[in-house]
Amino acid sequence: METLSDEMIMQKVSEGNLDLLKILFDRHHKHVYNFLYKMSGDRMLAEDLTQDVFYKLIKYRNSYNNGSFLSWMFTIARNSLKTYYTRNHKSHDDIEVLAYQAVEEENDTSENNAHLQYALSQLDPYDRELVILNRYREIKYDDLAEIMGSTPGAVKTRVCRILKKLKNIYLESI
């Protein structure tokens, strides 16, 4: 079952075999959730938006164009996040200025996590997205470039720089 690519499954979903979407959900919902959580620092919001992403996959299954599934899914995830912030912060209308919810005081939040979320909050939103997506290994530089509307070479150089910066912020904060 593992050998069947996301793209092939999504193709079948768009042809009307909706049940197969469960496979894609099982494969990817954690990563989408993780991305949204690290971007927003808000668990509830991340869960709602993940729900929204998969709802959109169902709704817009016919517009899937056989390109990279990961790129498509994360593009939808980014848009959901963007839409959310546009709606809730009417004065700003771009993801570049989205507010970052500071570390929450949740009981189950480990100390490492708190430091990591703090370090992430110190980055520009664009850089934060880039680095979070990059740490999800299945996303190659080509996909990443497609999602972020850049070139693989530029993305790669930038990721290297941000990782170094982020690591230093993180280590200083401990």
């Binding site: 197969l20 993780n34 709802y55 709704k59 490492n112």
Partner: protein, 261 residues
């Protein structure tokens, strides 16, 4: 040397994205550079934190997703029903819709075990379908008049992890009988991954006896020596005796012959 820090390559190194030679170069530099060692250690620690801190969403998410999906399936069913029979009487239609909805709801209530099994069956069927599609495409491409198309057919082998006998035999026929050298070479490269198959071994030995292209000859010789195929000695000796065998092939044979006889 100290000046050429390899900071930029650290992430790719940790992710295993460097190629062999770049990796060796990287490690060589690392041995003598304390700065880079420190940087590498820090980055490794940091990566670990990043990987560990993956929060898990609650079960609510999955439940919600599944109910949304079922809802969509019901909508899908409805649309199809209504469009399919526009002219039949409306009571019948409504009954049919009601029945189909009832069926869907019942199916949904039969629980997730059934659902999962259904999905697995679908997947298995889909996989089977695609494999057969690929196999048909592959076999028909290999009979094409154009050499490039035949090569494309041969290359399809990459799609199969466990090609069945029909595919192996079709590839063997390409290696033995195709008039185009490039097609034969590509067929050889496809078959060389399956040298444990008896068909492939026999094919290689037969091919060695009749092949005229030295590049293919030498490739076959290397493959047969690698699997220590004793039966390859005879055709090799024959090649040694032939006048038109290229000198470098003869050298190669002389070098490897002792190892398999």
């Amino acid at each position: 040397m100290e000046k050429n820090h390899v900071f930029d390559q650290i992430p790719d190194y940790l992710d295993g994205n460097l190629n062999k030679s770049a990796e060796a170069e990287f490690e060589k530099h690392l041995e003598q550079c304390a700065d880079c060692q420190k940087e590498l250690e820090e980055m490794k620690t940091f990566f670990n934190v990043f990987e560990e801190e993956v929060p898990t969403p609650s079960d609510r998410l999955k439940a919600k997703f599944e109910s949304t999906l079922e809802q969509e399936k019901i909508n899908q069913g409805k649309v199809v029903q209504l469009e399919a029979k526009p002219s039949s009487n409306w009571i019948g239609n409504i009954l049919k819709i009601a029945a189909s909805i009832a069926l869907l709801v019942a199916a949904f209530q039969m629980g997730s075990l059934f659902q999962q099994r259904k999905v697995n069956e679908d997947i298995a069927q889909l996989q089977d379908e695609t494999n057969q599609m690929k196999q048909t495409a592959m076999l028909s491409l290999m009979e094409n008049q154009s050499a490039s198309k035949r090569i494309q057919g041969v290359n399809y082998i990459e799609e199969f992890e466990q090609p069945d006998e029909a595919i192996i035999q079709a590839l063997a026929n390409r290696l033995l009988y195709d008039e185009n050298d490039n097609v034969r070479m590509t067929a050889f490269e496809a078959l060389v991954k399956f040298t444990s198959s008896e068909t492939v071994k026999t094919t290689f030995i037969n091919a060695l006896e009749q092949e005229k292209n030295p590049s293919i000859q030498v490739a076959i010789i290397q493959a047969l020596v690698q699997i220590q195929e004793k039966k390859a000695a005879e055709p090799m000796k024959k090649l040694l005796e032939k006048e038109d065998t290229q000198p470098f092939i003869k050298d190669q044979i002389r070098a490897v012959l002792p190892s398999i006889t």
